[in-house]
């Protein structure tokens, strides 16, 4: 595929709803998976001959598997409440990026083959045959949805376009047209244990380097244990935390918290990845298989607790799906939630007086917080609804003097996706990623101008990578992006051990 030239849209003072621009993003398509990315996941290597039949059979199967899909395809009344809610529509104006229109790509085929009205009066109800053109649209536009669920907040029937996108992608993969980026990564997790394909020796080496770095920095010998049998806690971070900036400073923050609390912990080289791209491609079996490694590692290492690092979709899978997919966790200590988020873990310590923080360490910063979509709308932190909003902010306020929120219609359950979630964090979709970040970038620039915000904290590896890449396109620094646990780590006060 040729590299697409595009212009970064100017940031408006006020976010406005663009006029409909049909076909504006029709050219946006990620690379198609090669046979070697497809087959290990149980999908055909390339487009099967009888793809129409296979696709319709798959749709039939999914309609029987997921009530969400069945109800959502029937219930939409085209009220339009969702049409201005998707960051990709707001950033591109392509009408097929309106959630309802994205659903309709699948719904019009569903109507043609699975409903009385669509079989008898296809034109009347907008039903169409499953053609090559439809498949092309599916491939293009089901890879322009980050499965962020923002539209589902505003739908009077709770229709979640993420569920439709997942079904669309699963049907595509099942006829041999999977997405390279996600499927290649899932293959790496199945064989090596993390998205990066980082084997045990490389991981051990990286962690050793981090120990030296921290020791040099604060003269405290903070450990980064790997495969430590009998540790209390198995920590499962997104693998980006091992090396990417600013993620790695978050990992250092987790390690400092464990060190100060005096709780033994370990990473696992077998399950060194919290991310689970199985959710992105909508495939239950692959999602379960990826998650299964973590159960296995916890059993093998004999840990009492599992704690998950800062990663949005990983937390949705861990919080909402793990118990169902790979539970029960009856082998863990029942006094703690299983799994537990690193922010819950740190928050508990903080309120039990187990951590000593000095806000002054972060006095050079004015911090805002980006609510990640999967944490905000697909899971929870703590024991009460909405803890996913208050707990990270509590942590930031405990570590920073200067905190300010972005506009209320862009945070909490209304938060805008970073533009790179849902399996779209790949350079072959850069135009989409930049344009999809526009609503968040606009809200961020507003607090920069009004309050002098210097940093935006996040608790998601994808958000951090995406913002580091796209914020410079909007004239903001990549170093604005920071892990919540970097703020914590920098504010922790240690008595020097030397």
């Amino acid at each position: 595929m040729a590299k697409v030239e595009f212009e970064t849209p100017p940031l408006p003072d006020q976010l406005s709803i663009p006029a409909v621009l049909p076909g504006a993003m029709a050219h946006s398509r990620p690379f198609v998976a090669k046979p070697e990315h497809q087959q290990p996941l149980g999908f055909p290597g390339e487009l099967v001959d009888n793809w129409q039949k296979v696709a319709l059979d798959k749709m039939d199967e999914l309609l029987g598997r997921y009530r969400s899909l069945q109800v959502f395809l029937d219930a939409c009344v085209k009220c339009g409440a969702c049409t201005d809610k998707c960051h990709y529509y707001l950033g591109t104006g392509d009408p097929k990026n309106m959630p309802v229109a994205r659903q309709d790509l699948l719904r019009k085929v569903y109507r043609r083959y699975f409903t009385v009205a669509g079989k008898w009066f296809p034109r009347l109800v907008g039903a169409v045959e499953l053609s090559e053109e439809v498949i092309n649209d599916w491939y293009s536009y089901y890879h322009q949805c980050s499965e962020c669920r923002r539209c589902s907040v505003y739908c009077p029937y709770g229709i979640d376009t993420a569920e439709i996108t997942m079904a669309g992608r699963e049907i595509l993969a099942s006829i041999g047209v999977g997405q390279k980026y996600s499927n290649e990564i899932i293959g790496k997790v199945h064989t090596i244990g993390n998205n990066l394909g980082l084997p045990e020796p490389a991981l051990a080496n990286t962690l050793e380097g981090l120990e030296e770095e921290v020791e040099e920095d604060i003269s405290v010998s903070v450990k980064f244990p790997l495969d430590q049998q009998g540790a209390d806690v198995l920590l499962v971070p997104p693998s980006a935390d091992f090396f990417a900036e600013p993620h790695v400073d978050g990992l250092i923050g987790y390690a400092k918290v464990f060190h100060q609390a005096g709780i033994s912990w370990t990473l696992s080289s077998y399950a060194s990845e919290a991310a689970n791209f199985g959710i992105f491609i909508g495939n239950y079996e692959n999602m379960q298989k990826v998650a299964q490694r973590i159960r296995q590692a916890a059993l093998d290492l004999g840990v009492k607790r599992i704690v998950v690092g800062e990663c949005g979709h990983a937390w949705r899978v861990a919080y909402s799906f793990w118990n169902t997919l790979i539970g029960p966790f009856d082998f863990l200590d029942p006094h703690y939630p299983a799994p537990q988020h690193i922010c819950e873990f740190t928050h508990d310590l903080l309120y039990q007086g187990g951590l000593k923080l000095d806000r002054e360490a972060n006095d050079d910063k004015v911090v805002t917080f980006h609510d990640s979509c999967n944490v905000s709308r697909g899971s929870r932190l703590g024991s009460t609804p909405g803890g996913q909003f208050s707990i990270p902010r509590d942590l930031i306020r405990a570590a920073c003097t200067h905190f300010v929120d972005m506009a209320p219609e862009t945070i909490h359950e209304h938060t805008f996706c970073c533009g790179g979630g849902g399996g779209l964090l790949t350079d072959d979709l850069l135009e989409l990623r930049v344009k999809g970040a526009l609503p968040r970038a606009q809200a961020l620039r507003q607090v920069i101008e009004a309050h002098g915000v210097t940093h935006m904290a996040a608790i998601c590896a994808i958000c951090k990578s995406q913002f580091t890449k796209v914020l410079p396109q909007y004239g903001m620094g990549m170093d604005m992006v920071i892990s919540v646990h970097q703020l914590i780590g920098d504010a922790l006060v240690f008595e020097s051990e030397h």
Partner: protein
């Protein structure tokens, strides 16, 4: 009497198709599992909380209010206008008329106007807002036209051309008691009733399924309790058994270093 019989048969047919069609969809929704916990969060933790969320959704259109104030206003006027107008029609089917039906008669008239205004507002939005125009199929326009025609013909019988409501009531009671009575041969009334029958016939095959559908929407009716309870669907239970390469509780072969 021929007219009365024709309409009686049509009404029974409409009722059977409406009830059987909607029941079969509802049974399908109920049978299809929700294999993963997917409420849109923050979500209630308890059944009572889910009940309250569903009530807010169905009575106040909470999510729609967050999403679009104009659609909410017109949608709410239409639905609650229709509800009260329908309740007002119970006076044709009850003898003696229930006390509360008598009580709401005066509101019912305004409700009919609210219903008409709400529908008109929704249609104007559908035609004028480019995004909503884009997502509209012919059936979306026709549905509004049908409902407007029902509301309009009803209002006309109140304000422009009265029909013989004594005979009409005899006909309606006859439907209930299976004792068919003649129907007044009044054009406006026949249009009104025919359109209602059309609505009953298409209900189970159209987007009107949103009415039962909302109660089955997993993002609204599930509790936020996935760490406390497992939600394994029957089809998923069998998965791990057919995949011997990753059975639960397998001893590790990858070494602990």
């Amino acid at each position: 009497m021929v007219l009365g019989s024709v309409f009686a048969v049509l009404f029974y047919l409409g009722a059977i198709i409406l009830i059987a069609g909607v029941s079969s969809r509802v049974m399908r929704y109920a049978r299809t599992p929700a294999p993963l916990v997917i409420p849109t969060t923050p979500a209630p933790l308890t059944r009572a909380g889910v009940g309250a969320r569903m009530c807010r959704e169905v009575v106040f259109f909470e999510s729609l209010f967050k999403g679009s104030k104009w659609s909410w206003l017109f949608g709410w006027l239409f639905h609650f206008g229709m509800l009260i107008a329908l309740a007002r029609h119970l006076r044709y089917f009850t003898e003696p008329v229930w006390w509360w039906v008598t009580l709401i008669q005066w509101v019912g008239v305004y409700a009919g106007i609210a219903m008409f205004a709400g529908l008109a507002g929704l249609w104007v939005r559908r035609m004028l807002v480019d995004r909503i125009r884009y997502i509209s199929a012919p059936s979306d326009h026709l549905m509004l036209a049908l409902l407007l025609a029902i509301a309009g013909s009803g209002l006309m019988m109140k304000y422009v051309h009265h029909t013989d409501i004594v005979s009409l009531k005899a006909f309606a009671l006859g439907l209930v008691t299976l004792d068919w009575q003649p129907l007044p041969a009044d054009g406006l009334l026949l249009v009104h009733l025919s359109l209602v029958i059309v609505l009953m016939l298409i209900f189970p095959f159209s987007k009107l399924l949103h009415a039962p559908g909302v109660f089955f929407s997993p993002t609204r009716n599930m509790r936020d309790n996935p760490r406390e309870y497992r939600h394994v669907a029957p089809w998923a239970q069998n998965l791990s058994q057919t995949r011997p390469e990753w059975p639960l509780g397998r001893q590790s072969d990858h070494g602990e270093g």
